[in-house]
Amino acid sequence: MPTIRVNNLPRDVVSPGDTPLLYVLMNELQLKGPRFGCGLAQCGACSVLIDGVETRSCVTPLSTVGAKSITTLEGLPQDHPVKAAMIETQALQCGYCFNGMIIKAVELLSTNPQPSEPQIRTAMNGHLCRCGNYPRIIRAIQRAATPATPRATGVALGVAR
């Protein structure tokens, strides 16, 4: 029985090694952050952080995860600057893409705490929002990165390494 490390806790799972990590997180561990969108790594609905790197769990076989540290949306505290900024800017409509949006923004700010708008657009380009809320999401990420918010430099806290 493999053990994986999710949100800083060891979790025993029974799925066979070829199972995409998404189904393990969603069905075995009953997590609601990563969710199904395309199963093709095209949209970002299923994103998780693996050792701090945004990863499409829908095409990541369980067997490749090993002892790496997996962080899901629910592993990021609710007062995380990215989450707080998404609420403050009322950035979402249906919210289904927001798992990936938040995960990717956290990864971006952990490597580039003060991204320019073009840098935000480029980094986020692999994440789709069918409601068309990109402008508000960009604003939210800028807000999360603003030096006026002291927590902004602490975003790596949310990324289990």
């Binding site: 189904y23 989450k83 986020m124 380009n125 068309g132």
Partner: protein
């Protein structure tokens, strides 16, 4: 008090896996009630709301939260009339055994149609509460004051009682007559305020349960097996052979079949996914479709059912004597809903009952078709709504509900069916293609004199794929056609003495499945109409804004046009006044339009690379008058989203299909707008608190489509005849 648990017990089918308190973010306080086959009597106040002992309220809203924020706005209306704070009121998900039937959550109807019902029900409940309070406090009703559900006698703050103490968790037993007086808009404390949405925190935390998160006890995972990409509507998808042995290697996986309806069930989701991919099926592949290449020629050659939608004046005479005439023919493609989450459904069907959970826009309508398919009476079927992703109209939610129900019935087990991306993209009900022919005339002074429009499109499809595959013949939308040539978008904003609108309906059989897509044909209507108006302004050497202004008198249309011109800092000049031969040229354009009764205006600033043909929307501005706007923050977000989605549809989106079937099956073969090319947006709501609320969910898209087309002309001096404005189409147009 955990009535949620009681609800689940009494509901018969337990949902497991995820804490159900979070089915809707605000359900921590929302309380359901003993489920009974509905719809509950609309003429009883108890059907609409319950006051709880802790001085909170549950309002049983009959509209689905589709991501647009209507659940917050409807509660704002209810809280306003009840004198409650927004934190004191919650709602539950639609449920044919609990919530009233307010009709479907489509056609931008939540606030326009549902708002008045919610408002008057809340007002009548408040009236009943004040009557109780008057007796309890021994004071006349007109001496009572209320805030946050606390009632007191004016000038005697020690004489108080709460709603909860008056009636907490008991029935009103009061008829809903609709006669209780409602508040004057001048007294509003909540309506008209940009309050934060109630569902946002849970959606950000990861606590929110979407449909895709729900599980049933003892369920199997299911997938449908269909050809990748739908065939011609009515031609179905015929199975020649199925090799059930081909999934033998997957323990527990098995095939279910009824006619050409084919699915697999398995113990785990991954096994179901693998089984569906591995199952060897030979399908008949008749070349029954026109394909993209021959689509418009075939449509134009069809025998059509023609109807004059509107006619006034003497068209022929007006055109004959006109100083300026513009004639244009345009084409719009099939476009898809493409919800970000493919639809899914849970189904538990037994010999004499069925419990279905899906993301339907209309649980009662879904129940009707399920009754037919399952051979069960409607009252034996319970349909519950759970939010998926945004749906933008009639996506595959009914189809997936039918498929899940059929699979559960065939497998004899509860099932969870998740459509794969290619199921949703490939078997969607698309917004239909359109051909529009417009003629507009003005006199020498620039006054509009005549307007004629002919529109060709096929009808909506009325039988879902699952039902069709079981052998039920395909059928058209019954009665009058679905969306027709729409007066609202075709000339209604201008003063035009002579006008004729003609609808040419084509039978849907032999084309692709079609149904309501957000603002479906309106983009094509305004792409035709507003380009012709714009061209007249050009021919008359006038600024497009001033030309329109001179031909308008309706203050609602004038209001949105003025508002959008203001935020876009519109600077009057003739379009394409200084033609440029630079590689990259820029343009700005104006457009008016709507979907249903509302008033939308947009300005687009775009950039065109003449070498590559690439068009980028740089900044889009939208103004909307939806009458009384309950929550301007939510509506601004709606406008902004509509502008971005319209840019996506005008520049990128087109369903590709060949003679056999649809080939747009994922996000690579059906590209949509992404971050890097996304325009900036500016949105403004023209607030009219004393007017009736009208639609806000799809009423700036037509305007935006026209604005983009007119901006293209401003930049290039070329009129586009077909969208999306893809590089190859743009290069061809520029070479003309």
């Amino acid at each position: 008090m955990n009535t949620r648990r009681n609800f689940l017990k009494s509901g018969g089918a337990l949902l497991i896996g995820f804490p159900l308190a979070n089915l809707l973010s605000d359900q921590a306080s929302a309380q359901t009630r003993v489920p009974t086959p509905g719809p509950p009597a609309a003429n009883q106040i108890d059907t609409w709301l319950a006051i709880h002992s802790d001085n909170t309220a549950t309002f049983y809203v009959g509209f689905a939260e589709l991501g647009q924020g209507n659940s917050t706005a409807l509660l704002q209306i209810a809280a306003e009339e009840l004198d409650l704070d927004l934190t004191q009121i919650a709602t539950i998900n639609l449920d044919t055994h609990v919530t009233p039937n307010q009709g479907g959550t489509y056609s931008s109807a939540s606030i326009a149609r549902g708002g008045p019902q919610v408002r008057t029900a809340a007002a009548e409940a408040r009236q009943a509460l004040l009557k109780l309070a008057a007796a309890r406090l021994n004071a006349p009703v007109d001496q009572l004051r209320v805030e946050r559900g606390i009632v007191w006698v004016n000038g005697a703050l020690n004489r108080t009682v709460t709603y909860g103490a008056l009636i907490g968790d008991q029935q009103f037993n009061v008829a809903f007559t609709g006669n209780a007086p409602v508040k004057n808009s001048a007294d509003y404390k909540l309506v008209g305020k940009a309050l934060s949405r109630k569902d946002t925190p849970a959606k950000v935390s990861g606590d929110y349960s979407h449909l895709q998160h729900l599980r049933l006890p003892g369920m199997l995972h299911a997938r449908v097996v269909r050809p990748r990409g739908q065939r011609a509507y009515g031609a179905g998808a015929k199975i020649i052979s199925v090799n059930e042995d081909s999934i033998k290697s997957i323990l527990g996986a098995r095939v279910v079949r009824k006619g050409d309806f084919l699915g697999v069930v398995a113990n785990t989701e991954w096994d179901a996914v693998k089984a569906a991919a591995q199952l060897q099926v030979t399908w008949d592949n008749p070349p029954a479709l026109p394909g993209n290449d021959r689509l418009f020629a075939q449509m134009r050659a069809e025998k059509t059912e023609d109807r004059v939608v509107l006619e006034r004046g003497d068209i022929a005479a007006a055109f004959t004597g006109a100083a300026h005439v513009v004639s244009r023919t345009v084409r719009g493609p099939y476009q898809m809903h493409a919800p970000f989450a493919p639809n899914g459904a849970l189904a538990d069907v037994t010999a004499d009952s069925a419990h279905i959970i899906t993301s339907s826009q209309d649980v009662y309508a879904t129940r009707r078709t399920l009754a037919r398919i399952l051979g069960l009476a409607q009252e034996k079927i319970r349909v519950q709504y759970a939010e998926g992703s945004g749906t933008y109209g009639h996506s595959c939610y009914d189809d997936v509900a039918q498929a899940a129900a059929l699979i559960s019935q065939l497998a004899g087990k509860p099932v969870r069916l998740q459509f794969m991306r290619w199921d949703e993209h490939g078997w969607d009900l698309y917004g239909p293609a359109h051909i529009g022919e417009v003629h507009v005339a003005a006199d020498a002074q620039g006054r509009l004199r005549a307007y004629e429009y002919h529109g060709w499109q096929h009808n909506w499809s009325n039988v879902e794929t699952s039902e069709q595959l079981t052998g039920v013949p395909a059928a058209e939308w019954p009665g009058a056609a679905a969306q027709q040539v729409s007066p609202l978008n075709l000339g209604s904003m201008y003063v035009i003495p002579n006008l004729k609108l003609v609808n040419h309906k084509i039978n849907v059989q032999g084309y692709l499945r079609a149904a309501w897509l957000r603002s479906p044909l309106d983009l094509s209507f305004s792409f035709a109409s507003e380009q012709a108006i714009d061209q007249l302004a050009y021919d008359l050497n006038q600024d497009p804004y001033r030309f329109r202004l001179a031909n308008m008198t309706d203050e609602r249309w004038l209001g949105v046009m003025e508002a959008v011109a203001r935020i876009a800092r519109w600077d009057p000049r003739r379009a394409n006044a200084t033609p440029s031969n630079a590689n990259v040229v820029t343009g700005r354009g104006l457009g008016l339009g709507t979907h249903l009764q509302s008033w939308g205006a947009a300005v687009a600033e775009i950039e065109i690379n003449r070498q590559t043909g690439k068009v980028l929307a740089k900044h889009l501005y939208g103004a909307l008058d939806c009458g009384q706007c309950v929550n301007p923050g939510i509506v601004e977000s709606q406008i902004s989203g509509q502008l971005v989605q319209t840019a996506s549809r005008m520049l990128l989106e087109e369903v590709k299909f060949n003679q056999v079937g649809v080939t747009s099956l994922d996000w690579n073969t059906y590209p949509v707008m992404r971050f890097e090319e996304c325009p900036d947006t500016s949105a403004v709501v023209v607030q009219r608190l004393n007017e009736k609320s009208s639609g806000a969910g799809e009423e700036t898209m037509a305007a935006c489509a026209a604005a983009i087309a007119n901006a293209f002309f401003d930049a290039t001096g070329v009129r586009m005849e077909e969208y999306p404005l893809t590089p190859s189409r743009v290069l061809a147009a520029l070479k003309r």
